[in-house]
């Protein structure tokens, strides 16, 4: 398989070629390893490359095909995972120096195992903000992950390696986690698709928690059908994750082509329509125009939801790492340490009020979803900032760069809504994403909208040569 053929294909396309015998899984894996070797260092997406294991997995797929056994729907699809998912035999770093002292994981995280069972081939682990506390993947221990479209700019975070690996054409599919926007922000800034399913839709078992109230597993891919195929492999009950929903899986791949007839769609107003650069709102307008949408609706108190998400995240994140904060704070990344330390000091009553507010806000948003089915909003307020840029200007106001990349994603993950970030076609410009949002467990709606936008050419993955 030539390098050009490899980087031109999406994951589902590669699986179809493998299943039809047009190319072997081993050839695809070798093409992925070659691409990682040549293009990988420029983006610094991988923290571990599993060449031998990947070749062995690929050979098993080819052996299954030779024996006329079904190798799975993702046969031979190269994928990689944020370095907070356990991989058997590999130490899970979670972006930290501290966890490098831990023994290797004894088994794969549930999400990793699900994709491997489906025939996908695991290529390695991907860089991230330390313990997932950030939106930029400027990791001080393992170096910043660089944006495939401009190496002086961030890839977004905290699943920055997951976004950059797809945007640079290293692999067509990755796993990330999203607590406040950590799948959607890097997907948007790297120009690829990012799906954060409903809270509880996908098991988090075997992944390193950050703020358990909001932690989701999500997928980043180069096409709608890639993230949909991943969701269909990942979703469903798992007693090993205490918040995983008992609700049965609802496969979305079969309904992708159903279009948007009957879906009531609106653009989000208020918080989601201010405080960003004009090009972020222009991207939403382009998507709305392509869908024939002119209606606008408001979610009340979204700015307060973001504040409450910040409080809960700080408090829960600090609790997870309290012992290390007490005994070895100097070993934390300087970009996360002070925030973790302060989070440990958040008063209990503040945390509890934030959780109570969350219940109130959830009820208000449910009222909105009685009137509409799908909402549109920018993913980020601007394209990728430069690496090391502490401050930026948004809508004429100077703000801190890192926390403000999540201004439009936080109020949605706060109540666990399913959201798809689609890369809006912007030739010659840095990538931007638009969030497509639905009521809980309505992943099919956001994916149907995304599929139509992709078919119209309004949304398309921008993978670098």
């Amino acid at each position: 398989m030539s390098p050009v053929e490899y980087t031109a294909a999406d994951g589902v396309g590669l699986a179809a070629a493998v299943r039809a015998g047009r190319v072997s899984a081993r050839e695809v894996t070798d093409a992925a390893l070659a691409r990682i070797a040549t293009r990988g260092p420029a983006v610094n997406a991988f923290t571990t490359v599993l060449a031998a294991q990947a070749r062995a997995d690929a050979d098993r797929v080819d052996a299954a095909l030779a024996a006329r056994r079904d190798p799975g729907p993702l046969a031979g699809v190269p994928f990689a995972v944020k370095d907070l998912f356990d991989i058997a035999g590999v130490t899970t770093l979670a972006g930290s120096k501290i966890n490098a002292e831990r023994p290797p994981a004894t088994r794969d995280a549930a999400a990793v195992a699900a994709l491997r069972r489906a025939g996908a081939v695991l290529l390695g682990a991907l860089n991230m903000d330390e313990y997932a506390y950030g939106f930029t993947t400027e990791n001080s221990h393992y170096g910043p992950t660089r944006n495939p479209h401009d190496p002086t700019r961030v890839a977004g975070g905290s699943s920055g390696g997951s976004g950059a690996a797809v945007g640079a054409g290293l692999v067509p599919l990755t796993l990330g986690s999203d607590t406040n926007g950590s799948v959607r922000v890097p997907a948007a800034l790297c120009g690829v698709f990012g799906l954060k399913p409903t809270y509880g839709r996908v098991s988090r078992a075997g992944s390193t928690l950050f703020a358990g109230s909001f932690d989701h597993v999500g997928a980043i891919g180069r096409s709608i059908r890639d993230v949909t195929a991943a969701l269909d492999c990942l979703q469903g009950p798992d007693p090993e994750d205490p918040v995983c929903s008992p609700r049965a899986a609802e496969p979305c791949s079969p309904v992708l082509g159903e279009g948007i007839d009957g879906l009531r769609i609106a653009v989000l107003d208020g918080h989601f329509a201010r405080g960003g650069e004009p090009e972020a709102f222009a991207a939403v307008a382009a998507v709305a125009a392509a869908l024939g949408v002119s209606r606008r609706v408001t979610i009340r108190e979204a700015h307060r939801a973001r504040a409450a998400a910040m409080v809960i995240t700080a408090s829960e994140g600090a609790a997870v790492h309290l012992e290390d904060l007490k005994t070895r704070a100097r070993d934390f990344d300087p970009l996360t340490r002070d925030r973790f330390l302060a989070g440990a000091l958040v008063p209990g009553v503040v945390y509890q009020q934030a959780q109570r507010f969350r219940a109130w806000y959830r009820a208000r948003v449910a009222e909105v979803f009685r009137e509409v089915d799908v909402l549109l909003a920018p993913t980020t307020p601007c394209p990728a900032p430069r690496i090391g840029q502490d401050r930026m200007v948004l809508a004429g106001v100077e703000v801190l760069t890192r926390p403000n990349l999540g201004v439009y994603t936080q109020p949605l993950s706060f109540i666990g809504l399913p959201v798809l970030s689609v890369p809006v076609t912007r030739p010659g410009a840095l990538p931007l994403g638009v969030q497509i949002i639905a009521a809980p467990f309505r992943e099919a709606y956001v994916l149907r909208v995304g599929a139509l936008l992709e078919a119209k050419g309004v949304a398309a993955a921008a993978v670098t040569a």
Partner: protein, 64 residues
């Protein structure tokens, strides 16, 4: 409206609260901790000023 504290008041809170839970804060980390404490308590003020009914409780396992 919850009052947002001055840096000196925040510093005093950080010192006392850290002592209460046995969390040492190195002198070189203290300014950054105070700065972020101000950010998170600014967010906290938005939460605390909002009136909520007495019978509203958070779900222990949150179901969206």
């Amino acid at each position: 409206m919850t009052q947002v504290l001055t840096p000196a008041e925040l510093g005093a809170y950080v010192d006392d609260a850290a002592k209460l839970i046995g969390l040492p804060i190195a002198p070189e980390h203290r300014p950054g901790v105070i700065q972020f404490m101000g950010v998170v308590m600014g967010a906290a003020a938005l939460v605390m000023e909002f009136p909520l009914p007495d019978d509203l409780e958070p779900a222990p396992v949150f179901e969206p």
